[in-house]
């Protein structure tokens, strides 16, 4: 497309995706530009997946307002898009009367923010809600509106819906330069591709500072605050009914015990400021610390059940609040920066807010008659009973060919992911769960690689884990060589 887009969104994480989908309801041409090989490969894939209830931040912050609004939007989004989401509730467990004072403060803050149905619980009520909790608890807070979401499935669904409604998605488009010629921006990627757009939204997460600089907009510095999380297998002994929080410290919400919608569980995250935005390394010191804190709250949690760990970094700005607003220095440029936690929760509300800013900036918004908010459902073998599975297989027998044994993912589901544009091993993993279970891809990765090669025509050696230089196999072994060495052996 050589035309000028009305809006270009830089960054396809939760924020860019939610906004792209929101704008796709209007008669606008929208480009969604993402530097990675797939969407949701930034912070939005490596977080706790909690839809926060809205009691952690003071009413004066922008965060608090968008958090509570975002929270309330998830039922409808799930209804339209079908991603895994569950309002399991959140509890904050106190272990001293001092801590109970903080709980009372959180309660008041939450009520002021408008959190519905918040309760303060005594010990007995709290243990009834969460029998696995350490019986030393003295009581706590219960927020039934808190929830959990599969963040990548949420973002994938948003992008899919946006694209179905006309948004142009460009992956492997790393914005490095931009110039405004009086009418529009010419946005250039690292590889030299160009996109023209009249208005630009900076939703580049950890790199929002660089993107802002590239557009000659405000100067600010994003500090990465790294968080490490540990994932435990399905049916883990410590699987809780609700998300369990300790009483929060000054800057973080502490180490949490988190059920996932898919039935695994997580403990984490840590919070350490780092220098390197790309640093997602995990360390050994954190393991013991995280588990000590998690096991204090839920004693039956076992390290033996860890299947993997990962890290993500929150994009933090001084003052710790979100920075969302029309740029004062660059024309028609909107900043959506510093979107740390609860960015996932707030994302649909942020999209709404930015849409209003666009209007304020003079963008006309006419609703599109053809807008379809719904996504057709996609079938998952692991959710089916035998009769349903049988019906599914009469549609497509490849639902009967199980490629990932731990998560029961069929070949048909993998093909669907590929056809929807997820062509890296990680993209398929996040879309289907193949490789996310106990054996972490030991069994299925090669099967998935072969299916990618067959469906896309990409040579096997060029298939990557997550784009760029993350090639998985380093070439074909010459047959003759293999054979002669076998001979040698005898």
């Amino acid at each position: 497309m050589n035309d000028v887009f009305d809006v270009a969104i830089i960054g396809a994480g939760a924020i860019g995706a939610a906004l792209a989908r929101r704008l796709s309801a209007y008669d606008l041409s929208v480009a969604l530009l993402e530097r990675c090989a797939d969407v949701c490969f930034g912070v939005s894939k490596a977080n706790s997946g909690i839809i926060h209830a809205g009691f952690h931040h003071p009413v004066s912050s922008l965060k608090a307002r968008l958090e509570i609004r975002g929270n309330l939007m998830f039922e409808q989004l799930q209804h339209e898009l079908g991603f895994p989401f569950k309002r399991v509730g959140i509890i904050v467990a106190a272990f001293s009367y001092e801590e109970m004072k903080t709980v009372e403060h959180l309660y008041e803050q939450g009520v002021a923010n408008g959190v519905p149905r918040l309760e303060i619980c005594g010990r007995e009520r709290l243990l009834m809600l969460e029998p696995k909790l350490n019986p030393d608890t003295v009581g706590g807070l219960y927020a039934p509106t808190g929830g959990i979401v599969e963040p990548y499935r949420y973002v994938f669904a948003l992008v899919e819906s946006a694209v179905r409604n006309g948004v142009a998605l460009k992956t492997e488009f790393r914005v490095v330069r931009a110039q405004h010629d009086g009418e529009a921006y010419s946005i250039e990627s690292e590889a030299g591709h160009r996109v023209r757009a009249r208005r630009v939204i900076n939703a580049a997460g950890l790199h929002a500072d660089q993107v802002s600089a590239a557009f000659g907009a405000e100067a600010f510095t994003i500090v990465p605050r790294k968080g490490e999380e540990f994932l435990l297998e399905r049916n883990a002994a410590g699987f809780p009914n609700q998300v369990i929080f300790p009483v929060p410290g000054r800057h973080t919400k502490g180490i949490l015990v988190i059920p996932t919608v898919e039935g695994t569980m997580m403990v984490g995250p840590t919070a350490v400021e780092t220098e390197d935005k790309e640093d997602v390394e995990t360390t050994s010191d954190n393991l013991d610390r995280v588990f000590a804190q998690a096991m204090y709250m839920v004693p039956v949690i076992s390290k033996r059940e860890i299947i993997t760990s990962f890290a993500g970094s929150r994009p933090v700005l001084p003052g710790n609040d979100f920075y969302i607003g029309i740029s004062r220095s660059a024309p028609h440029f909107i900043q959506v920066a510093g979107i740390q936690s609860p960015g996932l929760t707030a994302s649909p509300a942020i999209a709404e807010y930015v849409k209003d800013l666009l209007k304020q900036d003079g963008q006309g918004l006419t609703e599109k008659a053809a807008y379809d908010p719904f996504l057709p459902p996609s079938a998952r073998v692991r959710e089916k009973n035998p009769a349903e599975l049988d019906a599914l297989m009469s549609e497509d027998p490849h639902y009967g060919h199980i490629a990932c044994r731990c998560e029961s993912v069929s070949e048909a589901e993998i093909v669907e992911a590929i056809r929807k544009g997820h062509t890296t091993l990680d993209g398929i993993k996040f879309y289907t769960r193949a490789g996310m279970g106990r054996c972490q891809g030991g069994f299925c990765s090669y099967r998935v690689i072969k299916i990618i090669a067959r469906e896309t025509g990409i040579p096997i050696e060029e298939i990557t884990k997550r784009g760029g230089g993350s090639r998985l196999l380093l070439g074909k072994i010459p047959v003759a060589q293999g054979e002669s060495s076998e001979q040698q052996m005898k």
């Binding site: 035998p386 297989m393 030991g442 230089g469 074909k476 052996m489």
Partner: protein
Amino acid sequence: MIVEAFVGNVPENAGFGAPPGGTNTPAKVISHMRDLEYDAVVIGAGAAGMAAALRVHAAGFRVAIVDREDHLGGILLQCIHNGFGLHWFKEELTGPEFAERLAAQVREAGIDVYLNTTVMDLVADNGMKSLIACSAEHGVLSFAARAIVLAMGCRERNRGNIGIPGSRPAGVFTAGLAQRLINIDGYAPGKRVVIIGSGDIGLIMARRLSWVGAKVLAVIEILPHPSGLTRNIVQCLHDFDIPLYLSHIVSRIAGQDRVEAVEVTPLENGTPNPAKTFRLECDTVLLSVGLIPENELSKKAGVQLGHDTGGPRVDAHLMTSVDGVFACGNVLHVHDLVDFVADESSRCGGNVAAYLGAGLSAGGQGRVQAGPNVKYVVPHAYVPGQDTQFSLRAMIVKKRGTLQVKRAGVVIKRKTLQHIKPAEMIYFKMKGTELGPAGPDPAPIEISVE
């Protein structure tokens, strides 16, 4: 060896549209879901599953084997090296040759084999067991059987299980996956390789990678002694000048997109000494850090698992805590030799036949306990007066030692052993007479090594 997707015969009356049979079939009548009935169904067509099924079939019972792979033989098919069969077939074979011997017997016997068919669920609460499986070819299959043999093998422990710190780039493989990539698919996982763990699979892969032109820089082992067989240390490392670092750990994996290096730290008195950390530039990391019996289905069926083996707890007949559900091979405990897998599984098949026929000996069973320096003993029970084959894993390394069996505090057997080590399973038999006279409530026996 390529076996067709479906071998053997499906009974006529089991076709599409058959009304649901046994007691455990789903309540809903589904017109095209296929119901099948057997005396016994074996889950897994590896060495274990085939050996067990052959015995059940030989005793005249109707048995089926179900496997999710497209071949008979399980993991053996990727083990193209020599060293299989010395005990069971009395000659040295490669993995695929060993598998083919058993597969030929299975075909000859006309045993029904369902390949490319994954067992999704196993329900075993009373008399009849039911099993739900699916395959692209057959659709959903519902099996009813009086006995089930669990022979699902094991899976490899991975990076998450042992918590190696660092980044998460491409290029980290489990050794078994790398073996499959090279031996079956013909792809090179990498060019400069560091292997973590000195288990047999890792050692064999060190040699295999060297043969196909990769440079194996080192094998890193956390323990002060290797965990693979001695013959593999010699043939796979020494012969290729590959250094083995004992009492060392990989303290970090580095690399953004693809592995770029690992950092290795020596252990001194059991704790890492970071001052002596060194770096190995490589593009690939292989993990050979142990196997875990694959028991998700067993858990679904309510089978009790043991912490010591990771597999089901079994009685003297290799029957699990669920009546009529048996287990053998790597799903029961991890074996180092396929010959012992075949032997154990064949005995298991014999017990299944007895269970289906005249019934298993009703005599009271006594507990078998792991004593000093023993990680586990299988089976977990014995019948006095009945010959019993025990498998056990020692926890110590010793050139020459003694195995001792005590019953009610009294030594009832003593045996000298050479080259005791955790890597080599100890396989020994006791005569029924040694195990004492049958009685209603036999005393536990304890097996130790020193």
